[in-house]
Symmetry: C2
């Protein structure tokens, strides 16, 4: 049977997977530093729980059925199952199912694969990994959590070798209050048009707004609001200068100022108030987040989220929350696909222990056992070939050191195969330089 | 819509997930110390690649179809997809697909979920995590890899808080040579009967062997062989004492002795030569491995594998290999389900930074930022409640320390809420004891 890749289901070679692992490790460690425990949910949900929750994702759900049931005829008592297409729908179900066992406000992170049967294209997959954090509470959620989320994300991107990532922040209450203040009542409809700004430009947005019934003056005001962007708190005065008054606008400006101030205090340079951010504002109810990789703005947002008043509800209790999700596979796919990241080696092994002959393999294995006992990843050479060949085995995988048992007058020697330096070494004491212990992820200059 | 768990798809609460993460971290770190890079394969394979590869698992495959395709009528050009039921079938396909980009002998580890539509029962799931290592080579595989595998597994189980795990090792060539030496030609059929030993006992196995055409003397010899078990090399003399001669038997005894000797040298007490191990011997061609948790032998093997002559073949090239797979979910499910493991806390946070009032929250957030910069996971209190209430918030989650900004005469103080000790502390210098930095996994005495 011929083997061909399945479009939209990417797989990495070992050296690329090391890059992915580094990203996932940094994300998890940072989420944990900020006190977000991990949960994982099953890959499947009942289809009737998935449908109607994902907007466009709805029609792209993968259904899951036992092949045996197909031929035998399914029992009607079994709910039909589908693969989850995001981590929010299963999280909402998890909170309702386990509410009695969780402590609220409940923080969690979740890093898992999700599946969508969309048409594959560059940077869009049918199977991909998302990394989410959310905080949910019972009944009410304190606003300071909206300032906390982007600090976590800023730290993730500061630690990842991606270049400069900017977190764009807006608050639903700003356009809502502003629009109401200038007499526009269809807030959601107006936001949907303003959202096209990056794609079609301000002139065409104005045309569409006027077509939709806004006056030319209202349209100009909407565009003036959307043009405001600042890394500091000056966006507040810029909005005030437009001369619009509304209590909801005041609330939104105060809330956004608090988020930006927390960024200035704890993650300088990472956040920007960007009042053109409109995506998601029709279902989020407070702060919203998007991100841009500086120099690669056309790639769009790799990390989005916001505040919602009802993640889930069981009829009696409502769970408001705030969350943000990193599109790990899309980000990695573009960075790796465009040659911007590489790994210094294709294996975790830092040392290859050479073998003189099969009779002394046991000695080489004991050296490896000693090195591992002190946390040094290593591998024993597969064959007692000529040393040049054993060195090439290491070279091919990027393993930086080859260990030669009994090569020195005092005992063993170890060679840095990049420099050629070979020195006496004791397997119970030798340590590689810290930067050689693990594979290095290298950001190519673009 | 009523929310009910889906049978066979387990989900953990955060404190249990911390136990699972600890297991997966130890497994991955140990695999990496032994120079096994990670790969992940997509969750789906073409159904015609899955069928016929999994024995009984065949009829338990989950098919995957886009709901949209079901209603629109599938295009015939799309191969039908199914969820993988193990990691070996996808690994074989990955090796064939990427052979030109891999360096052989190729080592890899793979830790992923797999799915089987089996009837769920205690310790058996429909969605579960496997952790595999394999080494494959082109054409021929050196026998020393068969001695390497159980050293990796022994180290994993030594580092995990599971109690004593014994790795039982046998070699296909021992029963094969032995059976041929006493005139039994149906090796596979005999092995299948001997495999029932633990379940039905020696008397019934003898009956079945005789029913199947073996003589009573042959049956007794088979049982005598299966009764041999030793932690050292004495199994060789015990087999010799049975007086059977065959070149394949000699090969098998030498090979098993090499594996046991490597265990004695590098992982004392972890391996046992156990000649009754028969499961899998009908498709493995050399060493086979099973494991037993001492005191819980009835739970069966949590980790099995062996040497195979052909993992994959593209018609021209054959890839022999040796591999071993840890059934992580089954092991964890039994340990956690029986109350044998618990986590010291339900969050990674080591410190809760208290908040005096909303006006000074920014100061508490800055303390948290300082602590995190030095790798200390922490969380800022959600509400400026009474300190007793903030301490109870930490207590409920098992967070061991509460930080009080400005509580001391010199500045901040930190309280160990287990002992009640409260001391002056500087967020740029204070360190918790190492054992408090991460959640501890505690093995209850059974």
């Amino acid at each position: 049977m011929k083997i061909t890749p399945i479009s939209g289901f990417p797989e990495y070679l070992p050296a690329q997977r090391i890059i992915e692992q580094h990203f996932l490790d940094v994300i998890r460690q940072t989420f944990e530093l900020h006190g977000f425990p991990s949960i994982e949910t099953r890959a499947v949900e009942p289809v009737d729980r998935l449908v109607g929750k994902g907007g466009d994702a709805d029609k792209e759900i993968y259904g899951v059925t036992r092949l045996a049931d197909r031929s035998e005829g399914r029992s009607d008592s079994d709910a039909e199952l589908g693969l989850h297409f995001d981590l929010t729908v299963p999280f909402a179900r998890y909170v309702l199912e386990n509410a009695g066992h969780l402590a609220f406000p409940f923080r969690r992170h979740q890093i898992q694969k999700v599946w969508r049967g969309e048409r594959p294209q560059e940077g869009r997959y049918r199977e991909f990994t998302q990394a989410d954090i959310d905080v949910v509470d019972v009944g009410e959620l304190a606003p300071h959590f909206e300032a906390e989320m982007p600090l976590v994300i800023a730290e993730v991107f500061r630690k990842l070798p991606v270049g400069q990532m900017v977190i764009q922040v807006n608050n639903r209450k700003i356009p809502e209050g502003f629009y109401l203040g200038i007499g526009i009542e269809d807030v959601a409809g107006t936001l949907r048009i303003v959202d096209k700004l990056d794609k079609i430009g301000p002139a065409k947005v104005k045309d569409l707004l006027v077509e939709a019934g806004r006056s030319p003056e209202q349209a100009d005001q909407c565009l003036a609001l959307a043009a405001i962007r600042s890394e500091d708190l000056s966006f507040v005065d810029q909005v005030r200068a437009l001369g619009v008054e509304h209590p909801t606008l005041d609330e939104g400006l105060d809330a956004l100022a608090a988020v930006i101030q927390a960024g200035i205090d704890n993650a300088p340079g990472a956040l920007v108030a960007d009042l053109k951010i409109a995506r998601g504002l029709d279902y989020y109810t407070g702060t919203v987040y998007e991100t841009q990789l500086v120099g690669f703005e056309s790639w769009g947002s790799f990390c989005s989220g916001g505040r919602y008043d009802s993640l889930a509800s069981d009829g009696k209790t409502t769970y408001p929350g705030v969350g943000i999700s990193i599109g790990v596979s899309r980000l990695l796919g573009l960075l790796i696909g465009n040659g911007l990241l590489r790994s210094s080696r294709s294996t975790p092994a830092c040392v290859l222990v050479a073998v003189n002959d099969e009779e002394t393999r046991a000695g080489s294995t004991r050296v490896a056992t000693e090195l591992r006992a002190r946390g040094i990843p290593c591998e024993v050479a597969p064959k007692p070939a000529k040393f040049g060949k054993q060195i090439r085995y290491a070279e091919r995988r990027g393993i930086p050191y080859v260990w030669f048992p009994g090569a020195g007058e005092q005992g063993d020697q170890v060679k840095d195969i990049r420099s050629g330096d070979q020195v006496d070494a004791d397997p119970t004491a030798w340590e590689p330089p810290t930067q050689d212990l693990r594979p290095q992820i290298i950001r190519a200059e673009s």
